[in-house]
Amino acid sequence: MTDRLLKDLADIVRSKNAGPYRITFDILFKDRERYEAVRSTGVIRPETVAAAYGIAVSEVSSFFEIDMANAIKITIRRPRAQGSSGDGDMYGCQHHVPLMLIRVPVA
């Protein structure tokens, strides 16, 4: 079995503000089979996502596996509030890349 990048396994990997103090990530899969294949590896979890962004796992505010949507959802605290000094992404919509480059052992 070889590792594949999450972006090549998921249909959609995206980031977006969830209010001014959070960025939420959605990983959506095209079907149940693909979702289960990734989910069951356990690779996408708060610890690995925190590591991908170089943050403490305590900065991950929630993690959901959503069977009815074939989706995984992770939310982190913003290092700085939306629109405050030094923020570079007002909508939080360009923060998905380290997540989509996580390697998942799925054939």
């Binding site: 959070r22 629109g83 000094s85 570079g88």
Partner: protein
């Protein structure tokens, strides 16, 4: 209960919809047109400054089409979070456009405006009474933070909008409102299950973003006693279980619980079902009332005045030396202008301009874009400091310099641009309200 159809023309008023989609949507016999006009998403500037998010030109053009359609069908038009942040000046600005439309189109109707501004003194009393809790700001709200706050609004629930409908309003321009409440208000007023209406509101509020292909366009939801049916206005789009389920996750943290004023919606038992090719039926939302009725406060404070300079850097020796150069010019500027405080930020595009400390990649770039940003107590000082930094960088000498004639490629003259006042969020807390309507006064006007 008779089925009630809500037509939502677009995700944000002013961002557009198709004429064909609106015409087809109106032919399906909606009972109300309801649309959201704002959010905190574009940042704190619109709340702080009172400036509109979308131009008057676009708002007027779209409101004209919607009010015309609403009057023709004899159904109300509801706009929530008017102007972008829903502050009083933004409600007034939108209401002025509605008056102009009534005059120009020769239409007569009852306009209701609902304000959502919270007097700072009211919030201070709540702080003193221990009636304010943090939502996600991470710090408790204090009297000092409220004193710095230049604009403070609360998100209304559906109740003030229902009251305006009860008052006979044909067009409602509401201040800051929960986006789902704007869409849920009419069905709830007509007796629909609030859980289903609010869930439908949450999906419809982005217009056809819950359809595929997604777009700022018309979306309809039809509510009955058992659930609701979603369908895009345009025949070029369809609602699918996947598009609707995906949208249920969008820009919110918890996919199973949705909090609003006075309630929490439990979505864990929700079911989506494909109906034909273009419709999705949704069931299963349940509402739990909360002990207290709490509204979310949104406040903005003036953080200073900003000037920026934009420049490209192509020289590999400068790119290699960049961190040292930035640290040195910042330090010199702070010393030069001391004791006046300055906020100096460098956005280094091509390296970590977007994600800053969250950026894991460290590859050396061929070219980087630099934005120098200075925030100071007044515009003149911000401009002076920004120019001092951009000038110092332009002619900075560092070990190994190859090109001694300038380190920055400016695309513009002037190199330093004044961006005006800068705002930051100062309140994002929950405040207990005595009733769902006490904070949101309604004014009527027969046009």
């Amino acid at each position: 209960m008779a089925a009630i159809t809500v037509l939502t023309p677009t995700g944000t008023l002013g961002y557009g919809f198709g004429d064909e989609a609106l015409a087809r949507g109106m032919a399906l016999g909606p009972a109300v047109i309801a649309v959201d006009a704002g959010s905190t998403d574009p940042g704190p500037y619109y709340l702080g400054s009172g400036k509109p998010l979308v131009s008057d030109v676009s708002i007027k053009r779209e409101l004209t089409a919607l009010i015309r359609a609403g009057r023709q069908a004899g159904i109300p038009v509801i706009v929530g979070s008017a102007g972008g942040a829903g502050s009083g000046v933004q409600v007034d600005r939108t209401a002025a456009l509605v008056r102009a439309i009534a005059h120009e189109e020769g239409l007569s109707f009852r306009l209701a405006t609902i304000r959502s501004d919270i007097p700072v003194e009211r919030a201070k009393r709540a702080v003193a009474a221990g009636e304010i809790v943090d939502f996600e700001a991470g710090v408790p709200l204090t009297g000092e933070m409220l004193d710095e706050t230049v604009a403070l609004v609360a998100q209304m629930g559906h109740e003030p909008i229902c009251a305006a409908l009860e008052g006979g309003a044909d067009v409602i321009i509401a201040g800051r409102a929960c986006d789902d409440s704007v869409i849920a208000a009419f069905p709830i007023w007509r007796g629909a299950d609030p859980a289903l209406a609010i869930h439908m509101g949450k999906i419809l509020e982005c217009g056809a973003f819950s359809a595929e292909p997604f777009a700022m366009d018309v979306m309809l939801g039809t509510l009955d006693g058992d659930g609701f049916l979603l369908e895009p206005g345009s025949l070029a789009r369809r609602a699918s279980v996947k598009s609707v389920a995906a949208h249920s996750l969008y820009e919110r943290e918890n996919p199973f619980r949705q909090s609003g004023p006075g309630h929490e919606i439990d979505l864990s038992g929700c079911r989506f079902e494909q109906v034909g090719d273009r419709q999705v039926r949704v069931r299963g939302a349940r509402l739990v009332e909360t002990a207290d009725y709490r509204v979310k406060l949104e406040g903005a404070r003036l953080a200073g005045y900003r000037s920026i300079a934009i420049a490209g850097i192509r020289c590999p020796t400068t790119i290699r030396a960049l961190d040292g150069i930035l640290a040195d010019v910042r330090e010199k500027a702070l010393a030069y202008f001391a004791p006046a405080p300055l906020g100096v930020v460098f956005h280094v595009y091509g390296r970590d301009g977007v994600m800053k400390e969250l950026e894991p990649e460290t590859a050396v770039q061929r070219e980087v874009g630099l934005v120098i940003e200075v925030t100071a107590g007044d515009q003149e000082l911000a401009h002076a400091a920004c120019h001092q930094i951009s000038g110092a960088m332009l002619h900075y000498h560092y070990p190994g310099v190859v090109n001694t004639s300038g380190n920055l490629a400016f695309p513009y003259s002037p190199s330093d641009l004044d961006l005006g006042p800068v705002y930051e969020f100062s309140a994002y807390h929950l405040m207990k309200a005595d009733s769902p309507t006490e904070l949101f006064p309604i004014a009527y006007e027969d046009l």
